[in-house]
Every structure is written in structure tokens, then in C-alpha cells.
């Protein structure tokens, strides 16, 4: 009897293992199909197809996506678009991985900094041929920084609809109270510190400057404006501990600890927003504060300008772009969807929100975007000016992990006030190890690409 049980179990295992291998075969042959498929492109042009389009975001984003889809249906009646709203980071990448591994990816995929991690593994379609083969489409009218963020080693994988940079928002009332001049596009870190010292009032819980170094854009803005960076330009070396880097990080530490004009992690209250409650003089953070400030601030006047300069201006830029899955079965239709979603009609819907900047320069510079009516901020046009000194995230193959270790180290320096010299060697070791791994993986992926 026991033997029978044993055989049954073994048989089931074998079947399962076979099934596992089978699916591996299927996915690798999928990849071969893919290269074939691009040859018979256009076959899907006449039939009705459904394109699945995955994105993350809240109600605002869902409404925008649906509004764009409505416009899309007006000009296109044989492509159905199924909008799939997925939970955001970190579950988003996990969901994409699972769908791709099962051989059934979403056709069009919104992605941000993780774009390269996926592209390097050969699961995203090179959009180059579609861009070149389409007479109605050109990359020229787009902001370069937007396209560059999704062009890896010369290949464009995604096209963004919206972008925005780190900006500086300021509480006019607090500046008036202390008889200070409002900051402008040329404000330097030294001036920020000077004004911050005057505005800070610990008894009332008021800080001159918003929290520093809590996430990549904040760290990056500080480093870049002081002539330093996290990685070298080709992401092959760790450069944060260059003399400029060390100096910049020490200044961040000084602002938060010795000068105490920017709250550290312990000084940020739970459940209360320091900026909208009027307890921050200068907020240096993403452009989404425009919409949230309009909605939540009524007790003081505020405005915005460019993020402070050190040796140079620096505006780290966030965006997200629409990518095409290599395993998609309807690539021509998927391209039509991406093209429409990043085109002028879709971007005008986005522009009317007066939030993120449209990636088409003409739409961004139009009144649809820039005319806020009576709403603050007065200096909204600096959103466009910030793009002059814009640059994308240092999204190497190990982006999320390098980010994690850098942030841990920065937290030790800024929140726990550990000496910079004690932290940097360990950080360098950790990042170098990750960069070496990235290099090894890159070689493997490049080899795989050549095989195909």
C-alpha cells in the first residue's frame, strides 16, 4: 500500500517538474516568436484587438487614464483598451514579473526607475523600429530628459507622458514675518541656510528647511547642485565619497544636526504634515506639492521656485513612461496605444490638471498647462525652467538595491549624526559589490541578446 502512495506521489512530482520545464520552454520559444512576429507586423491592423494597459496610481490617475481612453475610442474603433490599475511600488514590479514569467504580460506597461532592470533582462520591446517606421511620430518635440531616462545604451524602451523635477516651495508668510526676501531661481544653498536659521523656531515647532536626504531625489539634488554624484556617468563607479561629495554630505549633516534648521526623522511628527500646517519655511521636494498645496493650504500664502543651487543648479527629474512588453501579441496595436497616450490630445488632458509637466514641449508651454487662473503658485512657469537643469535618476541595473544601501547610510549620517568618514568606506564596499554584480549580470544579458 505504502508503495502505491509512493509511486503516486513520485508520478505527480514528475508531471509537475515536466510542466515546469514545459513552461520554461514555452517562454523561451515565446521570445523566438517575438522576433518572428515583428516581421509580420501590421497583421493585427484590421481585426479587433484588446490591449491590456497596466499602470499604478490613485483616483486622479484612473480618471485621467479613462478620459484619455475616451478620446482614443473617438479616433480608433478596432482597438479595445483594458486599463489595469495595479498597486504601486513595491508590489507593482512583482506583479509585472509574475505576469511576464507566466508568459502573459500586459501589452503596455507603465514603468519608472525600474525600466532598465526589466529592459536589460530582455522582456521589453525596443521601440526604435516603431518610432522610425511611423511617419506621424517623432521624438523631437519631447523634452530630452524625459526620453533619455528611458533610453538605455542607445535603445529607447519607453515614452513618457509626464515629468517633473525637484522644486522649492516657500511659505511667504514666514518670510514676511522675518522681513526676508523671497527666494528666487538663483537662490543658493548658503542663502537657504541663512534664511532657514532666521525662520527656525523650535519652541513653535517651525523649521526653516524641509527634511533632507530621506529619498534618492533629495540626496541627488544636494549632491548634484554641489558638483557631486552617487555614481559615475556610466554607472560603473561609486563617486559619492569624492571630495565634493563628502563636503556636500557634511553640509547636509550640519544643516540637520548642528544648525538644526531641518527636522531629522525623530523631529517629524506622526500624522501631521509640517508643510501644509505652516511649519516649514522652504520645502524642497517633488512637483506634486503644487496640487496638494492648492487643495490643503488656506492659512498662509505660498509660492515656488527652482531648487537651490550650490556650484550649479540641479533638478533631478521624475517621470514614468509607457513600455511595450516583448511578449505582447499585438505589438502594432500596442504601439498605437502608446503613441496616442503620449500624443498631444492625451497630454492636453494631463495639462489641464496643472500638475505634472507634459513631456511635449509645446503642450507644456501652452496656456492649457500654464494658466492657473486665480490659483497659486504665482511662479508656476518655473516648472518649465527647472527642466533646463534636469537630469534623470541614476537608474542602473541595481537601482533599487543601491538606493536602499545609500539611503540607509544617509539615514545614519543625517538622523543618527554618525561621522561621514566612518560611514563612507562601508557604503563604498557595499555599492562596489553591487556594481560588480551588475557588471557580471550585464555580461550575461548581453551574451543572451547576442544568442538570439
Amino acid at each position: 500500500m505504502k508503495k502505491i502512495l509512493f509511486y503516486v506521489v513520485i508520478c505527480v512530482f514528475l508531471v509537475m517538474l515536466a510542466a515546469c520545464n514545459g513552461s520554461n520552454d514555452a517562454s523561451s520559444s515565446d521570445n523566438e516568436d517575438v522576433t518572428d512576429e515583428s516581421n509580420d507586423s501590421g497583421s493585427s491592423g484590421d481585426e479587433d484587438v484588446t490591449i491590456s494597459f497596466s499602470f499604478w496610481g490613485g483616483d486622479f490617475d484612473i480618471q485621467r487614464m479613462e478620459a484619455i481612453r475616451e478620446e482614443f475610442y473617438k479616433v480608433n474603433d478596432n482597438i479595445e483598451v483594458e486599463l489595469v490599475n495595479l498597486p504601486g511600488h513595491p508590489d507593482y514590479a512583482q506583479a509585472q514579473m509574475t505576469r511576464m514569467a507566466s508568459g502573459d504580460p500586459y501589452d503596455v506597461i507603465q514603468m519608472a526607475e525600474e525600466s532598465y532592470s526589466f529592459a536589460a533582462r530582455g522582456v521589453l520591446e525596443d521601440l526604435g523600429p516603431y518610432i522610425e517606421g511611423d511617419d506621424d511620430f517623432s521624438l523631437d518635440p519631447y523634452y530630452e530628459v524625459g526620453i533619455d531616462s528611458y533610453t538605455h545604451n542607445g535603445t529607447t524602451y519607453g515614452i513618457p507622458m509626464r515629468l517633473g523635477s525637484v522644486m522649492m516651495f516657500y511659505n511667504k508668510d514666514l518670510f514676511d514675518q522675518h522681513g526676508l526676501d523671497y527666494p528666487d531661481e538663483n537662490t543658493t544653498w548658503d542663502e537657504v541656510i541663512e534664511a532657514g536659521e532666521q525662520i527656525t523656531n523650535h519652541d513653535e515647532g517651525v523649521f526653516g528647511v524641509s527634511p533632507l536626504g530621506g529619498w534618492w531625489a533629495s540626496i541627488s539634488q544636494f549632491l548634484h547642485s554641489n558638483g557631486a554624484s552617487m555614481l559615475s556617468e556610466d554607472y560603473s563607479e561609486f563617486t559619492m565619497d569624492s571630495p565634493e561629495g563628502i563636503e556636500a554630505i557634511k553640509l547636509m549633516q550640519e544643516i540637520v544636526n548642528e544648525r538644526d534648521i531641518s527636522p531629522n526623522e525623530n523631529q517629524i511628527p506622526e500624522g501631521m504634515d509640517l508643510w501644509t500646517s505652516g511649519n516649514i519655511g522652504m520645502l524642497i521636494d517633488g512637483p506634486w506639492h503644487v496640487l496638494s498645496s492648492q487643495a490643503n493650504i488656506d492659512s498662509f500664502d505660498w509660492d515656488m521656485t527652482l531648487a537651490p543651487q550650490g556650484a550649479q543648479p540641479a533638478s533631478p527629474t521624475f517621470s514614468n513612461a509607457f513600455h511595450m512588453a516583448k511578449g505582447s501579441e499585438h505589438k502594432e496595436a500596442a504601439w498605437e496605444v502608446i503613441k496616442f497616450w503620449t500624443g498631444a490630445e492625451a497630454q492636453e488632458i494631463l495639462a489641464a490638471e496643472h500638475g505634472d509637466t507634459p513631456t511635449l514641449q509645446d503642450v507644456a508651454a501652452s496656456d492649457v498647462y500654464l494658466d492657473l487662473g486665480d490659483l497659486p503658485p504665482e511662479n508656476f512657469e518655473v516648472m518649465l525652467e527647472s527642466l533646463d537643469s534636469a537630469y534623470g535618476p541614476e537608474a542602473s541595473l541595481m537601482w533599487s538595491e543601491i538606493n536602499e544601501v545609500v539611503q540607509d547610510a544617509m539615514s545614519q549620517i543625517i538622523n543618527m549624526n554618525e561621522p561621514v568618514e566612518d560611514i563612507m568606506p562601508g557604503l563604498r564596499n557595499e555599492v562596489e559589490e553591487l556594481l560588480e554584480e551588475a557588471e557580471r549580470l550585464q555580461e550575461i544579458y548581453d551574451g543572451d541578446m547576442e544568442d538570439k
Binding site: V12, F13, M100, R121, N266, E404, S411, N415
Partner: protein, 293 residues
């Protein structure tokens, strides 16, 4: 095959099928994957013991392992003792006892992320006397200056344990009926012999409920080894103070594209939990009393 036996196989087949497809199969697959470099998106590549070597030479692994042990060795005994103590109190027939029973059980129904977020507020140390959370507020009323909890390297782990104790109601649900089942005759006999309350508890009550205590201890040990959301929602200022094995596994598998490494980690976890469960079972023979024996 007799019809009895045939029925046996028929009835048990759903389990066998479920086990092989959803547990046994994936386990074998993860065993294989633990010897490969696998990122889900590209084919797995055999790399021998590299993942294990890397694992044991990774400082982060030892951090999260010692955190996990701390939760098991400090958190589990606290959980069991607190569960027992509350259960003994809830056994008394005082007016409104059903209210108290409900009140102590209720928190374990409201679990999950929402409650943990509330704990974040309650544990907030505040700054300069402002925005102080409930816990430190209460402590200051009796003249104790509360610690920084998550922002203090000594208190970050106890904060996680404190939050985990919130779910003690689940154990009370098991201990309370066990306590009610303790023989009145035996307790009375002990009374007549002049036994003190402590003596009665350790010589009569505890042996009778020992299977229930053993059950919740075992489950708690296993659950604590697998602890995940608490350190995710209430992390220490430095995550290496609070992260558990499970958090480390999750980050590697789903954020860093390291499914092979994560599989190796899962197997190491499996062996650690198994060893502890075996030790627990071995010692159980010495103190757990089954009436049927």
C-alpha cells in the same frame, strides 16, 4: 484493494493533490532554484553553492537572524505568559466578565496594517514635548520618560514585540476553555490538602492545560520566525535593528530580482524552524501531560 482502502485513497486524494501541487512541488522547485541564479525573467543558471556562501557571508543575514532570534526568545515567552495570566483572570465569575473577555479578544480580530499604522502614532516619541504618542504620554503621567522606541536602537525591537502582543487574544481563546476544563474535583482535593494558590496552579492547573500551552508555544514560535508585516510597518530608524529573515527574503525575491538567493534563504529558514520545532517537541515530553496516556 479493499473498498475501505479504496475509500481512504479517494477521500485523502484532494489533500495529496493539493500538497503535491501547491506545497511539495514548489518546495522541490525552490530547492533547485536555491542552487541557481534566477531572476524570474531570464532562465535559471546553475551556480552550485554560491547563494549559500553569499548568504552566510552577508552581514545583513546575521543581523536579521539575530533579530529573529530576539523576537522568538523574548517575544514568545512574553506572549505565552501574558496569554496565561490574562486567561486566568478572565476565568473568574465576576459581573460583566463577558465584556472583559470580548474586550481582550477583540484586538486580535482587528489585525493587520491598519492597526500597525495606529501603533506608529501610539509609539511616537514626539519632539520637544509636542506630538507625543499615547504610550509615552501615559508613561509621562506616572513620571517615566518614555524611550524613543523605533528611533532608539535598544527599544526598536521591544517596540515590535509590544505591538505583536496585541494579538494575544488568539491564544486566550485557546487557553480559556482549557482552563475551564481543569477538574474541579482535583482543585477541591488540593484545597483540602491545604495547597496554596501557586501550588494549585503549578501542580494541578498547569499540567492539565499543558497541551494547550504547548500548542500555542509551538504555533507562536513558528509564526514569530515568519514574522513579516510588523517590522515592515514599524521599522527601526535603522532597518537592521528590526528586519526579520522574512523581510530580508521578501526584499531579495521581489525587489532585487534575486529569486535564487531568496530560495536559499527560505531553505535555511526551513531548517532553523525545523530544528527549533524538534527541540521543542523533545522537551515537550518532559512537561506536557496527555490524559489519555
Amino acid at each position: 484493494m479493499g473498498s475501505e482502502k479504496r475509500k481512504f485513497w479517494l477521500y485523502i486524494s484532494p489533500f495529496i493533490f493539493g500538497f503535491t501541487v501547491f506545497i511539495g512541488g514548489p518546495m522541490i522547485a525552490s530547492m533547485y532554484l536555491s542552487f541557481t541564479r534566477y531572476d524570474v525573467l531570464t532562465p535559471a543558471e546553475w551556480i552550485g553553492f554560491d547563494n549559500y556562501i553569499r548568504l552566510f557571508s552577508n552581514e545583513r543575514f546575521w543581523d536579521v537572524l539575530s533579530n529573529t532570534f530576539f523576537y522568538v526568545f523574548v517575544g514568545v515567552p512574553l506572549h505565552v505568559i501574558l496569554g496565561l495570566a490574562i486567561s486566568v483572570l478572565l476565568l473568574r465569575a465576576i459581573p460583566g466578565i463577558s465584556f472583559f473577555r470580548t474586550a481582550f479578544y477583540l484586538p486580535s480580530i482587528f489585525g493587520g496594517v491598519a492597526i500597525l499604522l495606529l501603533w506608529n502614532y501610539m509609539l511616537a516619541p514626539g519632539f520637544g514635548g509636542q506630538n507625543v504618542g499615547l504610550i509615552n504620554g501615559l508613561l509621562s503621567m506616572i513620571g517615566i520618560e518614555g524611550p524613543g522606541w523605533s528611533s532608539d536602537s535598544n527599544w526598536a525591537k521591544p517596540a515590535v514585540i509590544l505591538v505583536k502582543l496585541w494579538g494575544v487574544g488568539g491564544s486566550i481563546l485557546i487557553l480559556l476553555p482549557a482552563l475551564a476544563g481543569v477538574s474541579k474535583d482535583l482543585l477541591e482535593a488540593a484545597d483540602i490538602d491545604g495547597a496554596s494558590s501557586f501550588r494549585k496552579f503549578f501542580s494541578v492547573t498547569f499540567p492539565t492545560i499543558s497541551p494547550a500551552v504547548f500548542f500555542i508555544t509551538t504555533m507562536e514560535i513558528i509564526n514569530t520566525f515568519k514574522m513579516f508585516i510588523e517590522p515592515m510597518i514599524i521599522p527601526g530608524l535603522d532597518k537592521s535593528w528590526t528586519d526579520t529573515l522574512m523581510v530580508h527574503l521578501y526584499n531579495n525575491a521581489f525587489e532585487y530580482f534575486r529569486m535564487g538567493y531568496a530560495s536559499a534563504l527560505a531553505w535555511v529558514m526551513f531548517f532553523v524552524i525545523m530544528v527549533f520545532t524538534l527541540i521543542n517537541l523533545y522537551f515537550a515530553k518532559k512537561w506536557v501531560y496527555y490524559e489519555s496516556k
